[in-house]
Structure formats: C-alpha cells, structure tokens
C-alpha cells in the first residue's frame, strides 16, 4: 500500500503557500484593520485602535457611497449576465448549423474582456462623440451623456461586464447538452411550448449550474476593479467608485493600511455572507439529480 507520507510530500508546496500566502494575509489584514498602521508616517509603530476604523468607515460617506455603487453594479450585472448567457445557450442548444461559429463569436469577449485594451476601447466608445452616440445618431436618436451622468456611467460598466457573458454561456451549454432529448420530445407531444419547456424542464435541471455561475459571478462583481479604474474612474458624484477602488486608493495612494484593511474586511464579510446565504438557499431551489450533496 502507498505510504501515508507520499501524498503529503506532493501537497507540501500547496500547504506552505496556503499558510503564508492565504491564511496569514487574511489574519494579518484583520489585525491591521484594528490599528492605525500607515506607511505615510515613516518609523512610527502602529497603535491599536479596536474597532475605531470600522466606526469611522460607517461614518465615511465616500465609503457608504462605494458600497452602494458596488451593490448596484452587482445587482444589475449578475442577473443580466447570467440571464443572457442562459438565453443564448438555450438557443444555441437547438441543433443549428454554424453553432461553432456563434459559440466562438460569443466567447471572444470573455477572453479579451479583462484586458486593459478593451477598457480603453470602451472609454472611447462612450465618449460624447464616440462610436455609440454616432450609432444612435444614424437612427436620428439624441446622443446620450454616458460618462457624465451617474446612471450613464454605471450603465457603461454594466454593459462591459454583461458583454463578457461567454464563459457562463459555455458552462450552461455543457449543462444543457446533458439534458436527455426525450424529455423535450415527450413534452412537445403533450403540446408544451418552447417557453414552457424552458421553464419546466430546462431551468430545473440545470439549477446546479445556475448556482455555480451565480456564486462565481457574484464574487467577481463585488470585487470589480478594472472596469471603473480604466473606463469611468470614480464617475460623476462617485457613482462608479466601487468598493475595491476605494480600498485601492486608501491603501496604495494614501498608504492608510489600517483603514483600507478595515474596508477590505467589510467587503470580505459582505461577499462571504452573500455566498453563505446562497449556499444555504440551495435546498430550496437547487436540484441535484444524484440526490443532494456536492
């Protein structure tokens, strides 16, 4: 039989990394969040403040606004992105010709989306005289003030994220392929419409996939950084000043590490709580065909 030690040797690098690069930083950032640790004041030992940073955060209008903006961003992007991904995957799953072409076309934005170049392109497209307004103009529509109004700037960011629905779509498509065709066939004999089939057969059978995508996309959206940093910056009235950008500015521009750590813990707790709520809600709406469990 294999020796117990052999396996441990293989996972040792991971264990070291986990302790030093994952667990320790989590604990350390909690500790920093209770101090006034700042790199701006050289040579001063940080004082222990207790929960003062947290109290100050909740009096800090800029931080509250950044949480609101993050929440707005998440609430709009996640359902839109997943809904769109599922809808397109559903259509692609009919036996169509050229499915490979469309799959490629829809997936490309997901590959390129994280790139600064796309952020730069987005920024130019939504300028007052940019591509989008010129496009609207050809239909005789009034130009829209995208980047100079709070709602407009947020819309630009949401479109950028929803545009990258490709990887969710691929995951959905793989799940849809696993649904036995005869389920659809027997229900169309009973006269069920495509829409009924979608609601009664497709969606229930792929709830585990919806769940997985939901958790991952929620996690991503709460921590979005590149979009606002490159495309809209803080946005008018801080409308797109998302929490991760607030944390970045506090930590790496003002070097206020204690305060920034506290902000990162607030965001961390929000994300962990919403993930846990989702996991707890699984029983209500996620159907595992093998009778529960992961």
């Amino acid at each position: 039989m294999k020796k117990k030690k052999t396996g441990l040797i293989y996972v040792t690098p991971w264990i070291i990394g986990f302790l030093v690069l994952t667990i320790w930083p989590i604990l350390a950032s909690f500790y920093y969040s209770l101090t006034d640790y700042s790199l701006a004041r050289v040579g001063q030992t940080p004082d222990f403040l207790g929960i003062l940073n947290y109290i100050n955060l909740f009096k800090d209008n800029t931080f509250i606004q950044s949480l609101k903006a993050t929440l707005t961003y998440t609430v709009f992007t996640v359902p839109l992105q997943l809904g769109f991904a599922l809808f397109v995957a559903f259509i692609l799953n009919f036996k169509l010709k050229a499915i490979g072409f469309f799959r490629t076309a829809y997936y490309i934005p997901s590959i390129l989306g994280g790139n600064v170049a796309v952020g730069v392109l987005w920024r130019s497209m939504f300028q007052p005289e940019g591509l989008v307004n010129t496009f609207l103009g050809t239909f005789g529509l009034q130009p829209i003030e995208w980047l100079s109004t709070p709602a407009g700037a947020m819309t630009v960011l949401v479109i950028l994220k929803v545009w990258q629905f490709g990887s969710s779509m691929l995951i959905f498509l793989a799940a849809l392929k696993d649904i036995p065709q005869d389920l659809y066939e027997s229900s169309s004999l009973d006269g069920a419409s495509k829409f009924t089939q979608f609601c009664k057969i497709t969606v229930p059978l792929i709830t585990p996939t919806i769940f997985f995508n939901l958790v991952m996309q929620l996690n991503n959206a709460f921590q979005e950084f590149n979009g606002p940093y490159i495309v809209t910056r803080k946005g008018p009235l801080n409308s797109t000043y998302l929490a991760s950008m607030f944390i970045y500015d506090k930590a790496f521009k003002e070097f206020d590490m204690g305060y920034a750590s506290a902000a990162s813990w607030v965001l961390f707790i929000i994300i962990v709580c919403s993930t846990m709520i989702l996991f707890a809600s699984q029983k209500k709406w996620v159907y595992y065909s093998d009778g529960g469990g992961k």
Binding site: K2, K4, G7, I9, Y10, V11, P13, W14, G17, F18, V20, L21, T22, W24, P25, A28, S29, V88, T104, A105, Y106, Y107, I108, P109, S110, I111, L112, G113, G114, N115, V116, A117, V118, V120, L121, W122, M125, L131, T134, F135, T138, Q164, S167, I171, M216, N219, N220, Q223, F225, I230, S244, I247, Y248, A251, S261, S264, L267, F268, I271, V272
Partner: protein, 291 residues
C-alpha cells in the same frame, strides 16, 4: 376542423421554418453587436485621428501603418518592445510554475490518502470562493518587507505554491478521470510514485495541461491590478500598465496610436484562442471558470 392533414403539415413545416429563421436572426444580430467594437477597433488603427470618430463604419479611407509605428515607439523613453519583454518576464515563469505546482498538488489530492486530507481538500475548495481583496494589503506589506516591490516575484509567487485553486481543481478533475489500474500496474512493475506521475499520468492529461497553459497565459498577460500594485518604475512596466499610461492625460489622446497598441496587446490572446479553441472550451466546461 376542416384542415386537411397535408395542409396542417405544411403549416407546421412553415412554422418551423419561421422559428429557425428567427433563431438565426437573433443569433446573428447579437453576434454582430457583440463583435462590432472589436472589428471597429481594427479599422480605427488605420484611420487618422480626425477620421476616427466621424463615422461608425470600420473601413478606413486609406491603410496607414503610421499609428502602429508611432504607438510602438511611444513619446516617452521606452518602447513597446520593452513592455512586451517585461510582460513575458513574468508570464512565462508563471505558466511554468502553474503547470508544475498544480499537477503535483492535484496528484497528491487525487491519488493519495494522508492525514487531514478531507479538511485540506475543503480548504482548497473554499479558496476558490475566497475574495482576494482581503489578502492584498498584507501581501503587499509582506513583499515590501522582503524588498521585492518593483520585481516580478510577487506576481509569480502564487503560482509557485499552487495558490490558484482553479488550476488545481481542474487538474484534480482530469486526474480522477484516469483509471487507477494504470498506476497500480506500474507500481507492481516497481515504478516510484513520481515515476507514475511523470511517465503515465502526465502524458494522459496533456490536454488539461494545455488548458492550464492557455488560461494562465491569457489571464496573466491581461492582469492589471497585480502589476498596478507591485510594479512602480516605468522601465519595469508590462503591456497592461503601458496601455493605461497612454490614455491617462485625457485631453489629447492620440486615439489611433492607443488603438493600434491595444489591438497588438489583444493579438496574442486572439491567436491563441483560434489555434487552441478546443482547450479553452474543455477547460471552461470541465471545472467552471472565473471571469
């Protein structure tokens, strides 16, 4: 109902035709809208700055590579040659370390029993859902204390220690799909555990390794926040930071040059995608994915 069977069938066939048409129509419109920005970007790199924002058409009046030349050379002291070299200085080691560390870790989890394995596996899975935002500040201070700021070490370290659970998880999934009979036969033949991994499993999971290479390439190449935090001097800038540098003074952006360099920075990912599409799709669907 006075409808003859043949008429009913005709109607049904007609209805089906309409449905198929509607599907293609929707798919095509969506595809055009989605890809148009990229297509337009390609055209814009050849346009003059005065021409770029005048029309939604993507075809330039004349093909002019000047924007590429000026953009590549930049107005500053450094050219994109340096920025690309800098990028590859961490992207290539990162890919190498990722493949090795993810495979070894996955091998340990997929094939062996050891104390606390269940707990460790749960922790590994939990890190998939760990918001990275909370580790950023202590890690920065950690690398600062080690005098590693403005080097590529902080960008690579996570890969050395298999701290990107997506890759480990993907490798575990693939290793599990390979029958254990193979390694047991090799054990009987006196093969060491490492020999089994190297001679039997690695060749069998080559597609998965390729998926790791491809995803790590695309992600680390486009990584922006990492370099933004750790790389401070311009001579060490990777492409992602250099691109941002070009659009910072918002008043007089030479858009055609910015677009030309943007397109060049997207090319590696585009080329890789078209030459290895299969591995992208397999990687996404085997384990689910971020992004």
């Amino acid at each position: 109902m006075e409808v003859t069977p043949s008429l009913a069938e005709k109607r049904k066939a007609q209805k089906q035709k309409v449905q198929v048409f509607v599907r293609y129509f929707i798919l095509t419109i969506v595809a055009i809208i989605m890809l148009y920005p990229i297509i337009w970007l390609v055209g814009a790199t050849f346009k003059s700055n005065s021409e770029i924002f005048t029309s939604i058409g993507f075809i330039p009046k004349k093909i002019d590579f000047q924007a590429y030349i000026d953009g590549w050379n930049t107005k500053g002291n450094y050219t994109f040659t340096l920025y690309f070299i800098n990028t590859f200085k961490y992207v290539i080691p990162k890919i190498g370390f990722t493949v090795v560390s993810a495979t070894i870790t996955a091998y340990g989890f997929a094939r062996f029993d050891f104390p606390l394995k269940k707990i460790m596996f749960s922790l590994l899975m939990a890190t998939m859902f760990l918001p990275q935002v909370v580790t950023r500040i202590p890690l920065y201070l950690f690398w600062k204390d080690l005098n590693m700021l403005d080097t590529y070490v902080p960008l690579i370290a996570n890969s050395v220690f298999a701290q990107e659970p997506f890759f480990v998880f993907m490798m575990i999934q693939f290793l599990r799909s390979i029958p254990r009979d193979l390694d047991e036969a090799a054990t009987v033949d006196g093969c060491s555990s490492f020999g089994i991994l190297w001679r039997i499993l690695v060749p069998a999971v080559k597609p998965a390794l390729l998926s790791c290479v491809i995803f790590q390439f695309v992600w680390s190449f486009s990584d922006f926040l990492g370099p933004l935090i750790y790389i401070t001097s311009q001579e060490n800038y990777p492409v992602s930071l250099a691109l941002k540098l070009n659009v910072d003074p918002s008043t007089n952006t030479p858009w055609n040059q910015v677009f030309a360099m943007s397109l060049i920075s997207l090319l590696p990912a585009i080329i890789l995608f078209f030459s290895a599409q299969k591995y992208f799709v397999e990687g996404v669907t085997s384990s689910g994915i971020k992004g």
